[in-house]
Symmetry: C2
Subunit: 228 residues, 2 copies
Amino acid sequence: MARDDAPERTTHADKVYTLLFGQLMNGTFDPGAALNIPTLSREFEVSQTPIREALARLEHTGLVHREALRGYFVAPLFSEVELDKLMEARLVLEPALALEAGRRVTPEFLAKLLVPIDDLLRLSESQVVRSFREYWSADEEFHTLIAKQSANPFLEGAYRSLGGQVQRFRLFVKLGSADARFAAAEHRKIYDAFVARAPEAAADLMRHHIESARLRALSDRKTILANE
Amino acid sequence: MARDDAPERTTHADKVYTLLFGQLMNGTFDPGAALNIPTLSREFEVSQTPIREALARLEHTGLVHREALRGYFVAPLFSEVELDKLMEARLVLEPALALEAGRRVTPEFLAKLLVPIDDLLRLSESQVVRSFREYWSADEEFHTLIAKQSANPFLEGAYRSLGGQVQRFRLFVKLGSADARFAAAEHRKIYDAFVARAPEAAADLMRHHIESARLRALSDRKTILANE
DNA sequence: CATTTGGATACTGTATCCAATTTGAGGCGG
DNA sequence: CCGCCTCAAATTGGATACAGTATCCAAATG
């Protein structure tokens, strides 16, 4: 007997949270759009209570913001200044994460890290430009794996609290395939520093990678604005 | 005119959030204690819905944690390892905050910063040891003001996400009045660097301050454990 | 006879739904 | 242009379903 009778091991609030999180990361909603609770309630076919709880939990990801007595909204687009501030914050956190991760390199870590690096390279080499989502998914995976390997829950949490914002930025800046090639090469260099068990070098390369990404983002942004 | 006619400018959920946050920061609850919703509902004389929302929002402060299908709990005490990781994270963030704040020094900032410095010094010089809360309140004010002055919402947010944890640590480590004197002196040096418009020096002094605080915390902790 | 063990029962608390109230925003007429 | 009205949405209160836990009672065992 004892059938697999654990189909409902999670709560509705958790499921709504996960679904909404995915949709927000994928850019399903327009920036600034209202997330009104009755509508979502019908959409997900649950009552308003779990929706409300999921939204409250999503607020700290930065993907959603709340105005008292007015409701929840998708986070608005970045301004140039915000983008700069975000990169400044990443510039503080990510080299520190890379440094700690570099002190704890394991073969499993290296193996897992290789996957998003190869993905990014392969995508950037293919002639057909698929969805930007695939690029960014590989990029996110790379940075998230390093954050995890840092073995510091507080630093990782601080980075995670930036994670949603980083994603906002990713949706905002359309990555070109030339950019992806640069990024793939920089990822690879960081990887090599990990292999060489050189944490300080990894941290420096990460710093350089973020600075480059910042410059690419700024120039891309200008291009986009010029085209519109 | 425009009287202060904002008596009910906030929702119940906001008020509950603020109250609970204050109580958690003050150590009103025991670490690990269950925060059950019906009880809090009676206590605050509101229904369960705003309680639930406030708890969901409190989760990201680190003062409260949630276990699926089991409810919300006050964050447990620190282990030695966690304390170390926390200080490592502060060591990454706070010098960066001090650096940015140092680039944006204003007379108002300096004036506001002087208050918690003087408070801490006065408290540490008085013979009568009052509640530790007053020490930590001054300490928190000092660090929070600098975080705000950094003018980077993302870095500030990352620090704030550590803030609750820092407070957990503060409640855990009982500050001696000798420690308070050291801290006051270090705060003062950082202040002087701000006055001298030397951001890099401020960042270095902040790094040193956190490292010292870490050492003091570790030795204090050992003393406490030895006494019990 | 004392102790232990099995199982039913009461109770507590989470998760959820739904209904009632309050608030904010936009349209309409003065 | 300004105030009133209407409607949609947020907010809140309370009721219900459900699960897990603790408690109690009695039968079985040494």
